[in-house]
């Protein structure tokens, strides 16, 4: 039954009032793609309002849009040619609605860029051209519209063609064709125009059918960003399914896989599906799921790659081109959220290399912030390493967005990883130590006096495994032993209220930072500080340890241990007798240097 026709999304872009909606309206009308009565209905409406009919009105389905007279969002319309079905996305040309234009264009495989013959190339003609290049749209046709207003003169068309071609060349775009049209009068829409005998190229309709649909390149390296890990045990299903969409390449049952950034490895046991015959392979484009040979622990967001292929980069720093849509500018040092494939991590803008004026295509190198509608080359740094590819290698895993205050405010493409010794965290520690007037009472003197060294004890493990009770029992016991001990029980919720944000990713990071800074003060004062935290990962743990330096950090894991070797000091089982568990920890503290036997416990 699969005799389905090919479908293609085409976006219409260009400067405001250059005639995008008119072009679409005309196209729909002339190809008979409008619902019965729609044309008449709109014509009647115009008559009632004593307004001349325009083809653009056909698209303005929403009332408030008509009131403003401009397309405020990307609307979709459908039409068919003999070759395939098209979804036409009408993107607003007004700069205020750039984010809507991007939304529309990001869904397209091809673009028609409209330029007003009379007005010529305008700021957004260039900006939109640049955005097409940015978004990776290779199929572009330029329509020089309103030829009727310039007397259908070939010189006007040729001049725009020459100038705009030169511009596109600068941004590495080569258009498929330039077409002179009049959308209002219907010239060169579905066939040749009597008014322009000098033009012998194809019409708009023909240009649509020339667009090439990109075929997935199955030869590229396999990339499978983990969306989620499902185990529907309650419904009697014991499969542990790693689910997501194959963004690139292919994979077969039996293939060895590696997860990044964690570098954990396993092998594909099965390809899972519902209402499907048994599969042994998955390939780019499929939303699917796998079971693995070993029960490894990874979080959503990691990228699964093949061991035998080139793996993604893993780095906390990268160079990228970004465009900014946020009402607030993108500034250095502020915490944002990065979303790349299914990874979400805190990110800061580390450096601005240059800001491009999209309309003029000239670089400005001395800006210290990226303003709304700017395009910039920047260095970003994440709190923990992320896995990615360079956009020209595998574009699906080389693109990201930046979230500020709940909203997607920027989009970016990664040019290269940056390998740099100096992390923001180590820079911060350096600055902190520089500005810190240390007490003359040395840690050694304090330890002598208090009869123990200072330390941060982190009790971690899965949620609801009795960590808090354990931490308090330990505090109680050490207190009895006359140690200077303190249990710090601050939750994420407490931090949330400070700025009203409920962003899990950023709150998590704030929690870690605040905990680390607090621990640093209290351990510097000679205390044994106990805290508990659920599901901390190795990078967060590392950050905590660095912030707490020079005092020691002791990590106790309760229940299943997800850490690599050497990161946890003491492993404990879930449950168990409270007194025994406490004694076990105390014994460990005696063994380790914190409660040195020389300070006699």
């Amino acid at each position: 039954m699969e005799n389905q026709r090919e479908q293609m999304n085409v976006v219409i872009v260009g400067h405001v009032d250059h005639g995008k909606s008119t072009l679409i309206g005309r196209l729909l009308a002339d190809t008979g793609s409008l619902p019965e009565g729609k044309l008449q209905q709109v014509k009647d409406q115009c008559k009632r309002n004593a307004k001349p009919f325009e083809y653009a009105f056909l698209l303005d389905a929403l009332k408030d849009e008509q009131a403003q007279g401009i397309t405020i969002d990307t609307a979709r319309s459908f039409f068919k040619s003999k070759k395939r079905d098209y979804i036409i996305i009408d993107a607003p040309g007004h700069i205020e609605f750039l984010k809507n234009m991007i939304t529309g264009a990001a869904r397209a495989q091809a673009a028609m860029l409209v330029i007003d013959a009379k007005e010529g190339i305008r700021e957004n003609s260039k900006r939109h051209g640049y955005m097409m290049s940015f978004l990776g749209i290779k199929n572009i046709t330029v329509c020089v519209n309103k030829m009727d207003l310039v007397g259908y003169k070939q010189e006007v068309f040729e001049k725009i063609k020459t100038d705009y071609s030169a511009f596109l060349k600068e941004i590495n775009l080569k258009p498929m064709s330039f077409i002179p049209i009049s959308a209002r009068e219907g010239d060169c829409i579905t066939g040749p125009s009597k008014n322009m005998p000098w033009y012998d190229g194809g019409s708009i309709l023909e240009a649509f059918d020339v667009f090439q649909k990109a075929v997935p390149d199955y030869e590229r390296a396999f990339r499978f960003p983990i969306q989620d890990i499902y185990k529907f045990t309650a419904a009697g299903d014991d499969r542990r399914i790693f689910s997501g969409r194959v963004e690139s390449g292919t994979i077969d049952v039996g293939d060895e896989v590696i997860f990044l950034p964690s570098r954990k490895q396993s092998r594909i046991t099965s390809v899972e599906g519902f209402n499907l015959p048994k599969q042994t392979q998955a390939f780019a484009g499929q939303s699917t799921g796998f079971t693995l040979e070993t029960q490894i622990y990874v979080k959503p967001g990691e990228i699964m790659a093949k061991v035998k292929e080139k793996t993604p980069h893993v780095s906390p720093k990268f160079k990228a081109n970004i465009f900014w849509m946020g009402k607030q500018p993108l500034v250095k040092g502020k915490n944002y959220k990065l979303k790349i494939t299914t990874q979400q991590v805190p990110v800061i803008l580390a450096d601005i290399i240059s800001v491009l004026d999209a309309s003029e295509l000239s670089s400005i190198t001395n800006k210290d912030q990226v303003d709304r509608h700017d395009v910039a080359e920047c260095i970003f740094e994440t709190l923990k390493p992320v896995a990615f590819d360079e956009v020209n290698q595998i574009s699906e895993t080389g693109r990201f967005v930046i979230v500020d205050n709940y909203e997607i405010c920027g989009g970016g493409i990664i040019l290269a990883p940056v390998f740099d010794e100096v992390s923001t965290l180590s820079k911060h520690i350096k600055e902190r130590d520089y500005g810190w007037e240390r007490s003359d009472i040395t840690p050694g003197k304090r330890a002598q006096k208090y009869q123990h060294k200072s330390a941060l004890i982190v009790i971690t493990g899965e949620a609801n495994s009795g960590k808090i009770a354990m931490a308090k029992a330990l505090e109680e016991e050490l207190f009895k032993l006359k140690k200077n001990v303190y249990f710090l029980g601050i939750s994420n919720d407490l931090l949330k209220s400070q700025d009203g944000s409920n962003d899990k990713t950023l709150n998590r990071m704030k929690h870690i930072q605040q905990l680390g800074e607090t621990a640093h003060i209290l351990t510097d004062a000679g205390l044994i500080l106990i805290t508990s935290i659920s599901d901390i990962d190795e990078y967060e743990l590392q950050a905590l340890k660095i912030l707490n330096r020079p005092s020691k950090t002791i990590v106790i894991n309760v229940g299943e241990n997800h850490f690599q070797e050497g990161q946890v000091d003491l492993l404990l089982d879930k449950g168990g007798d409270s007194a025994q568990v406490t004694q076990k920890i105390v014994n460990y503290l005696i063994q380790s240097v914190v409660l040195d036997p020389e300070f006699s416990i």
């Binding site: 969306q227 989620d228 709940y406």
Partner: protein, 298 residues
């Protein structure tokens, strides 16, 4: 599927599944609206695709009490068979006091607003009673869970009607369910708006790219059980869009099964007739569905 090619249905299926999984990961209080119609039944099937046979969130139905009785029967049958966490809500006050269009008390649009939009708003918010299917007794019981749903998966399609063509996959609604069409979040490279301020919620639209024909082709390919009100029972008419019986009229058609419908749509018989043309409320007030949608209607 040994060849590495994806048909159009494969592609839109993969995208819908991707969207649903994003929603499931990001929203603690997630629900899916199920109107019993063809679109949301396909949506339900796609959830089973996404979650490997399971549907890990509640399905919410707004029962206006004017649905064709066969729809309610079908709903409960499927809910039991597929082990669904089935929840319904209702504007019991309005129905009890006969403040409805069929009772002659108010006009169609007001009736829709009251029995659908209002009931939906309060059922989602949790401040009106929710009734949950007990799979042991096969009866509905008052639901203890009064938490508002912060993510709501809805089966609207862009090709259905003008205002729906402007939706995002992830579309924010404020406290009053209001939709700001002019200021919608950007969506690019499969990154959606999954962060939201307290008090707001997100509508999630996995079917945005599907057409009416795609829906029926998919029902055919997957052999999805669909309510038989869509088929001609020998009287030369069938429903093309399902709603409340006082406001829904059938279309002339002799399509008796899914295959017939696919053929019928392919001939272009309905190409010039709006899919929802049998839904009387759309025609009132100059911009019926759009007016309703700004107010929280699906």
């Amino acid at each position: 599927m040994s060849k590495k090619t994806m048909t159009k249905l494969d592609q839109i299926e993969a995208q819908s599944v991707y969207i649903m999984r994003e929603a499931y990961r990001e929203f603690k209080n997630l629900a899916m609206l199920w109107s019993i119609g063809k679109d949301s039944t396909v949506l339900l099937w796609l959830a089973r695709k996404a979650f490997f046979g399971h549907v890990p969130f509640p399905l919410v139905h707004v029962d206006t009490s004017f649905k064709v009785p066969a729809m309610i029967k079908y709903r409960d049958q499927v809910a039991l068979e597929w082990n669904l966490n089935m929840v319904y809500g209702q504007n019991t006050e309005a129905i009890k006091n006969k403040r409805t269009f069929p009772d002659g008390a108010i006009d169609r649009i007001s009736c829709c607003k009251s029995l659908k939009s209002e009931a939906l708003k309060h059922t989602l918010a949790g401040d009106w009673p929710r009734y949950r299917m007990n799979h042991e007794t096969k009866k509905y019981e008052l639901d203890d869970n009064k938490e508002p749903y912060t993510g709501v998966i809805v089966g609207v399609r862009a090709d259905e009607e003008g205002s729906r063509s402007k939706e995002r996959y992830f579309s924010p609604r404020d406290r009053n369910n209001d939709w700001d069409v002019g200021d919608q979040p950007p969506e690019l490279w499969n990154q959606f708006k999954t962060d939201f301020a307290p008090g707001t919620h997100l509508r999630i639209h996995p079917l945005l790219d599907w057409t009416e024909l795609n829906i029926w082709e998919y029902i055919q390919r997957e052999n999805i059980p669909i309510i038989d009100l869509y088929f001609d029972q020998g009287e030369g008419t069938r429903y093309r869009s399902l709603g409340c019986y006082p406001c829904t009229t059938p279309v002339q058609s002799t399509a008796k099964n899914v295959e017939d419908i696919v053929q019928e749509l392919k001939t272009g018989k309905f190409a010039n007739i709006a899919e929802r043309s049998g839904r009387a409320q759309d025609k009132e007030d100059g911009g019926g569905l759009e007016t309703l949608r700004l107010d929280g209607y699906m």
